[in-house]
Every structure is written in structure tokens, then in C-alpha cells.
Symmetry: C2
Subunit: 238 residues, 2 copies
């Protein structure tokens, strides 16, 4: 396959789009080694330098990673990455945290208006709703409510891992590559107050998150109610 179809795009974008497509089509799967830069260049009819630029762009997006002398690989949604990139709650003394989750409720429902809007659903789509409590040791930290489209995650069960993005990738071939969060301060509602050992109305963080795939489709909506006495939400910008 030669890349004669140009579309005005630079060649390296055509190359990176091609590889992106192959990952979405699971031709290249998480953990797999890609062909070498020279092989890809020969196959696609471009030079190694052009392949290199395309691969580097995908590495920047964390879709691939490289190891010198070994090869170029499709990124996996490691637990570590799930935790570091998508769990932004930190202990005030600076320590990272790995809270374990316990499922409180699990069910299948007709999507409401907010779920339609946030997940971009079609009429009459259904969602799984999951409510979980996350704790560190005996200490409860946050309650999260999670909605996903049933059509995208068929046969989900209430027995769920602590970090869901790895499950989405391994079981459903859906890779979360970006999240958008909104953080507000609210008075803790009664239900969450009881679970978190707080008094109703005490200030807590409300974290509203949309998770997007590598082609920018929203796949999960999550709202967390989080204690804010010993924990905080962290963010760096450059």
C-alpha cells in the first residue's frame, strides 16, 4: 500500500493516522512491538525519517512508547498510568495514594438527559450506573458515581477492578487517552456524608470527569465526592 492519496496533509500525518487507525482496528494491539522504522517506511513508501516523525508524534500523545535497542510498542493502560494520570487526589503530606474501591450499587438504566449530553448517546440508549466507595486502609476517601453506555461495554458486571481504564482496554479494546475534569466545592450530601464519616454539609470536593478515547469520543462520565480535610486535588501546568 503506497500513500498516493495525499489530501493536502503532510506525509508524516498520513503515516501517523494510518498507525492510529491500525491501533483502533486492533491490527496493532496494546503491548505489541511495531515493525521497525525502516520496515514501516518501506511498506508505506516513505523514508525512515518521515516514519520517525510520525512515531514521535504518537509517542508524544502516549499512544506509543519506545525503548532504544528494542523497538516501538503500543502503550498499555498500566495500573500505574491509570493511577498517576487519572487519579489526581493526593495526600496533603505529599504521598501518592492507591485507594481500593468497593462497589456499592450497580445497575442498568435508561440514560437521563445529563448522561445523553455528556456521553453523546443516541435516543433510547441505556447506561450502566456504578456507585463505589474508595478507601485507603480503613479510611474512606471518596464516593464515585460512574456512567457508561451499555452498547460500548456489553455485559459489564458489578465485579470491577480498582482502575477501570485497563479493563476498558483489555476487555473492550477502548483506550482512554484524555480526561476533562471540573472541580467544585460543595457541602457533602447526606448519603456521601454517612459513607465518608463526615457531617452533612461539611465542605468537600466534587470532581466531574469525562474520559475520552484516542479519537476524542466520550466513553465514561464520573462524578466523585471527595473528602478534602487531609486530601487535595493536584494540577500542574506548563
Amino acid at each position: 500500500m503506497r500513500l498516493a492519496e495525499y489530501e493536502g496533509k503532510p506525509l508524516y500525518e498520513v503515516v501517523s493516522d494510518t498507525i492510529r487507525r491500525r491501533i483502533l482496528d486492533r491490527v496493532y494491539r496494546p503491548g505489541m512491538t511495531l515493525p521497525s522504522e525502516y520496515q514501516l517506511g518501506e511498506e508505506l513508501g516513505v523514508s525512515q525519517g518521515t516514519v520517525r516523525k510520525a512515531l514521535n508524534d504518537l509517542v508524544t500523545d502516549r499512544i506509543l512508547f519506545r525503548r532504544q535497542g528494542l523497538g516501538t510498542f503500543v502503550s498499555e493502560q498500566s495500573e500505574d498510568r491509570s493511577r498517576c494520570l487519572f487519579f489526581n487526589i493526593m495526600q496533603d503530606d505529599g504521598g501518592a495514594m492507591s485507594p481500593v474501591g468497593r462497589t456499592l450499587t450497580f445497575g442498568q438504566y435508561a440514560a437521563n438527559a445529563e448522561e445523553h449530553r455528556k456521553l453523546g448517546l443516541r435516543p433510547r440508549d441505556e447506561v450502566y450506573r456504578i456507585k463505589r466507595l474508595r478507601s485507603l486502609g480503613e479510611e474512606p476517601i471518596l464516593v464515585e458515581r460512574l456512567s457508561v453506555a451499555c452498547s460500548k461495554f456489553p455485559n459489564l458486571t458489578r465485579d470491577l477492578p480498582d482502575y477501570m481504564y485497563r479493563l476498558y482496554q483489555i476487555e473492550y479494546g477502548i483506550t482512554v487517552s484524555k480526561t476533562q475534569e471540573r472541580v467544585k466545592a460543595i457541602g457533602v450530601p447526606q448519603y456521601e456524608a454517612k459513607l465518608l464519616g463526615m457531617t452533612c454539609g461539611e465542605p468537600c470536593l466534587s470532581i466531574d470527569r469525562i474520559a475520552l478515547t484516542i479519537d476524542r469520543q466520550p466513553v465514561e462520565w464520573r462524578r466523585s465526592i471527595c473528602r478534602s480535610d487531609l486530601w487535595h486535588y493536584a494540577c500542574e501546568r506548563t
Copy 2:
């Protein structure tokens, strides 16, 4: 000047370090056009491709920017950048906001323990402390307390612009390139409650920020108390 001194670093890093150094030394100043890739390559004894990689890395760090056909420029701390990158409060309906600030108090003090820790000060260093109220139209939104070392910002006055990072750059040659923030939910204290038109103890956001220069030195500590009824803190991750 030829770059014979190698130090084990790749050439393009030696080149980007050289340019970084020249910006810190104000040989290249914000807004200035850099010599062309070929000129830099000739001056430093490397090829245009190597200069290109070095410049691209600095563009990624937002230290430079390019315009095709025009040249490569040293980034300025534009108001737009100050607002977009370092002001992460958004209206709930999605609109961006440009709140104007009014200085409430301004003074010079011996630094306390927390300021010493957060700003990396030396014994007996002094700080300017500034308290400001930011509003959108008639609507007060947040109160911020700001500390900077007097030694770094001599002769600062209480007459301050809305976006300080541009002032730091133009008047003091200090460029903020990174911020670290911690967000918590607290009950609004009495002083801020009065200014923000809230009732004491109502939930609000507390945003604690350290601003770092391009060589990673902390230069400003800021703590904002922000209404959270119609505004939220926004964060995207990839």
C-alpha cells in the same frame, strides 16, 4: 563558538541549552526574532536539522514559538497566555472569564515559615504580601493572597496589573513557565465571606499555587479563596 565541549549530551541538547541560557541572560529577549535555523547552525557549528530539533524542543516547552515564513520568536507572557494557562477558573456555563483585580492590602514583611518553605528563601529574607479581590463586573469571585521575595522584585508597588506574570517578565526579566496547584474545599473564612458576599462557612475552593521560572525556581506563592457556586476549577489531562 564551536560546540566541541560535548559532556556526553546529544548535540541538540547542547544547542537548546545554549539558547535557553541566552534567553535567561536576556541576549534574546521576549518578542525578539531569533537568527534563522541556518544562521544558528553555522554559528554553533551544527547542521540546520540539529538546530531544528533543538528549537522544536523549546517550542514544546513554550519558550519559543514559530511562524512559518516569518521566523522563530521568544515567547512573551501575553495577557492571553497568563489568563488561559494560569487562570483555571471557568464559569459553569463554559464561558471563559477575565476578572479584574483590586488591591486590598499591600505590604513588606519578614517572611514566615511557610513562605520560606514554598519560595525557597534564605534566612531574614523579606516578602511583599498582596491581597486582592477579583470580580467579573459587579460580581466578586475570589480573594487572592500573594507572596513574592522582595529581593527578586525590588520596589514593587501596590498599583498592580490584573495579570502579574507579564509584569514579572517585562519589569524584572523573570518568566513564569510552570505552575503547581493544590485545590481543596474549605468553609469560607469570615474575612473572605464578607468580600465575596457569602455566608461564613459556606463551601468554597482554596487554590494554592507555586509559580516556577524556566529554570524551576519558585518565585511566587499564591492562595486564592474562590466562590464555587457558579464557577469551577477546570483541568485536562492527556
